[in-house]
Symmetry: C2
Subunit: 714 residues, 2 copies
Amino acid sequence: MHTSSDPLELFFRPQGVVVVGASTDPTKLGYGVARNLLEGGYPGVVHLVNPRGGTLLGHPLYPSVEDVPDPVDLAVILIPAAAVPPVLEACGRRGIRAAIVASGGFRETGPQGAELEAACVEIAHRYAMRLMGPNCIGLVDTHLPLDTTFLPPPGPPVGDVAFISHSGALAAAVIDWARGQGFGFSRLVSLGNQADISEADILPLVAADKHTRAITLYLEGVASGRRFVHATRGLAQQKPIIALKVGRTEAGKHAAASHTGALAGQNQAFEAGFRRAGVLPAATVAQMFHWAKALAWLPLPQADRVLILTNAGGPGVTAADAIAAQGLRLARLTPQTQQLLRAMLPPAASVHNPVDMLASASPEQYAQALRLGLDDPGVDMVMVILPPPPMFSAGAVARAIIPLIQTADKPVVVVPMGDPLVAEAVAHLRAAKVPEYRFPEDAASALGALYRRSQWLRTAAETPLQPVDAAATAAAQHLLEDDATPPGQWLPPQTVRAILTAYGIPTPREAVAHSPTEAAAAAQEMGFPVALKVVSPDLPHKSEAGGVVLGLAGPDEVAAAYESMMARLQAAFPKAHLEGVLVQAMAPAGQEVIVGAVRDPLFGPLVMFGSGGVEVEGLGDVAFAIAPLTPADRAYLLEKTWAGRKLAGFRHLPPADRAAVEDVLARLAQLAWDLPMLAEIEINPLRVSLAGEGALALDVRMRRGQDKPPGFRP
Amino acid sequence: MHTSSDPLELFFRPQGVVVVGASTDPTKLGYGVARNLLEGGYPGVVHLVNPRGGTLLGHPLYPSVEDVPDPVDLAVILIPAAAVPPVLEACGRRGIRAAIVASGGFRETGPQGAELEAACVEIAHRYAMRLMGPNCIGLVDTHLPLDTTFLPPPGPPVGDVAFISHSGALAAAVIDWARGQGFGFSRLVSLGNQADISEADILPLVAADKHTRAITLYLEGVASGRRFVHATRGLAQQKPIIALKVGRTEAGKHAAASHTGALAGQNQAFEAGFRRAGVLPAATVAQMFHWAKALAWLPLPQADRVLILTNAGGPGVTAADAIAAQGLRLARLTPQTQQLLRAMLPPAASVHNPVDMLASASPEQYAQALRLGLDDPGVDMVMVILPPPPMFSAGAVARAIIPLIQTADKPVVVVPMGDPLVAEAVAHLRAAKVPEYRFPEDAASALGALYRRSQWLRTAAETPLQPVDAAATAAAQHLLEDDATPPGQWLPPQTVRAILTAYGIPTPREAVAHSPTEAAAAAQEMGFPVALKVVSPDLPHKSEAGGVVLGLAGPDEVAAAYESMMARLQAAFPKAHLEGVLVQAMAPAGQEVIVGAVRDPLFGPLVMFGSGGVEVEGLGDVAFAIAPLTPADRAYLLEKTWAGRKLAGFRHLPPADRAAVEDVLARLAQLAWDLPMLAEIEINPLRVSLAGEGALALDVRMRRGQDKPPGFRP
């Protein structure tokens, strides 16, 4: 029996495996598991359990787990669901601390199954055992090797891409599909129902594997968004991580009353979490693996300038379109490079990017042009387009360029376009671990992923902005404690204003005055123009009652307006108690944006920024990040949206105070992070004055959530 | 010798072909052409020309075209560019009226090549000969069969998809790639430089081919956008047409001064043209053929509701995402269908869409579930997901469902996920002409194309809206003739207003008054509030001069404002001639949109609609269609944009007069169509009042273009 500090490691390095449910019937899945373990080259000991006894593939079938000899530290269980708990008990008693429950029939089938699943987890906890599944196909380590699945041989191709999947069927399909794709797997894990072990548990083990050079994830959700971000952010700095999050269309919006809440769905939360974590979000399974082989095999680019080498114009144009669609730029070759290309190519060739070497391009010309391109300081990445050359074999071209690609410090992808005529080229490239794609679009997409990863790594060490000190946080918390607003309701304006003040988010100046003289003096102090608003507990709808006057330009006007308003209101509402008026400085004209925050059940506070106003939901010019914001997150919010870009000025629109907006973003994000009892916060509009003249939160709402929100904090 | 009413038909049905430049050297392209014609099964006569004489593949090499015997009605020329014109002359003398110039070295290489190309065209015109190329790889008809290319055998797979390509290299790559894709070609045409024959010439011949069931186009541009639309719109009603337009990123914006002009690029023009023509725009080469096989082989759906059948949850979720990403809906099964599914599936199966039959799903269960789905009136299309079933072969499932798919009147696509484990299934499906895809995303994309085609066919017979009669057009033309604005300049306001009036586009009421009494009376007649604006040739900047007063609410105010404005201006500008004032009705509040038109050099007038205001370029909430508008185009403009959708009302925003906007759109589109001398027209804003209360063009600009714009009219 073994004791390890972390039973999770036993899943990948067991000294002995017991298969419970090993079957002598080759059509049964329990036969497949035994076969894959016994015949797949696993160097440890394999034990088989089947109460009916006998032998299987030359190995004895033991009546129960407790009968198998040492060593045994991993159990693979594939028996009817109802029989699983007693077997887990037996494993626990036997000292086994790692179990894969491949059987289905648990939570995925309804309440009864869920009860069974809970019973399994309870047993595992009791024996300090870790549980993979149930309802999964197990795991594969192609290098040990170890294959606990029931999938028909041959096992997955050996390689350097790890794959963690919530879906067993998808993992099985991917393993089969990958056989024709020219890349291989290091570790594969099917997590199933994740009763115990989730992706966040397995990621560190896969990232630590020396054979793994890129990690792919098929996710149907995450147990805790913050935990996922926390786990991946550090690992992603070591190895590239790509995730496909499915169930995008089923993701409901938050039940929320603000624009921010209405716009912040589960997709936005995942996108924001992935961005923070450095996880590259793929749109399809195929794209995930297109990216994985490029990330596993190629150096990262310094910048985004792509050179296209081709032997024909049409595919070159297609490639240029694809490069632009990825947000990458076409490299501009130096005059020197162009001259050298000109010297080696026919006169009709194009030495501008895309470099079209014409149909006569020989393997040597491909190689020489590639060498020149790699040497050009204006080139960060290269895409070599290889339609079947009419006078040479594509294979010869591949052979000529592979040594250059393998030694280059810039990434190069190759696009052999065709099938039988490029098959030899494809085989050479795959053997040399050069990423190849049938069409330029997939190649461009892979280059885009390389570039985005290189960009993310530059800001990966940033820490979140914390512009507000602990005293302010404490003050705001006290304000919330003293406030009696029930959960789900909006806080009163004075509490909102006090919290904003504590967090240093500027609001228009205001003061309560009880006489015309006081009002005029207050206005004089704060500057004109001002607005007057009646203060009366009996007049909740000030405007409708005639209790609001806007645009008063001098002290006399203010005093006169005070007197006439009071006279009018006393006449109209003789029973109302008129306490005085609120004198408010009117904000200067400027651009208007929205800054909001909403609590996501998985990822905690999400910050939104974008074009404000009443039509924010319709226009959808908004972006999200998770709070608190890193400098990179904040830059993203401003660059992604038109609202952010136009702060720099646009045509007649003068530049606005972008720095003030950045400051408010950081403060609001910290506020949302510090005060988890707030469910929604929305500043709409934040009025942004000319550069250097600040920004003012004109209308702000805060809604109280549950006092103890779901625990997402690390 | 043959005479045909249309020499174009000779390209696909020649009785004799002469190859000029046939080479005995197997590494030369001129050998390849001869080989493909002689050994590819072409039933006509093949003649070979090479001045060196001798024989090739058992056929004599004639010294010149003039020496070859009858029949000969198509020449394939593959000799150095400079030698092509005399050979074309010889072909002309020989009575040959169809020639493919495969040689490169023409326009694509510079001015000298362009001269050679022009010489070829001149010769062709002189002999009433049609020319394909130069710089192309010729054509293939797999059914005759006829193969004039030099591509290595085997020829392209035989099938029912036609492909017309501007790029020969891409055609060669596609032919090779398609060998592994399970569909085949009917006719392939490589157009090269299109010195004479362009895609619009060839399309009717390809569409008329009885073996062709779907047409694909790889376009690097079109010679005339309007001609292309005209040619395809009729053909697309008979057969599906899919186009990939490349060079998207190089497409410059129009040199234009209005927002409309700045936003209308070549991509927008192509999109609008394709939409009118019923051409489905593909984003990639692979996607084009994914769509083509579905369009060639499947019936069209009645609506957009998709049923997903799967044997595992994960792939089902992926498929649901992909369906939603296509803008399609998940079908809701009737209770009866659910009951029947429940009866035949295990208890843990899901009988809601996606229907998850679980890993144990047998071929019979797949077939039975598919039958039930096809019978459900709520299902318009079906996607069958087929990850390798652990207990059955995917091939058996394919065999079980193929007969149902072949006889169904609803489209069904199949997704065998994997490679070797699904190879048998793939082979069965391909043999049965059932579209199959490796991943749900490609399958969903194909279903989306089927649905969009079915939608387009519903409106394909619509004629453009012509709300304005010929008298109004004539009046506007006279106004433009009388107007002295030079090309490139903006028309004066009174001309703009008169043209709008002629076309029935409402503008605010206005009248010139010469006294306080006249002004008050005019205001009384048009209704309040009104604005007064001084009329004086000496005061071009009315506002700055103090010559504008807004928001006058009654006749007395108007008269008083008239008197005080005149007194003020007379004092300030004693030398100015004050003619009177313009009294203008002020438009009621409402939603504001932009309606514009700009002349595209390829497609003629393009209409733009969207969110107006100063930020229209930044927000980019705009859509384009080509003028004049069909009802479907107009509906598209309003549905595609937030500006259009919110006319129906949104939250606090009351419904606006959408009918008035529709009317203005139709009128402005006709205006742009009728008056080709206008380069740009922009109404920004069009203020839209509450439903039933109309819309007013508040600010309108029109710019004169060249008097004789490029000829795009059919």
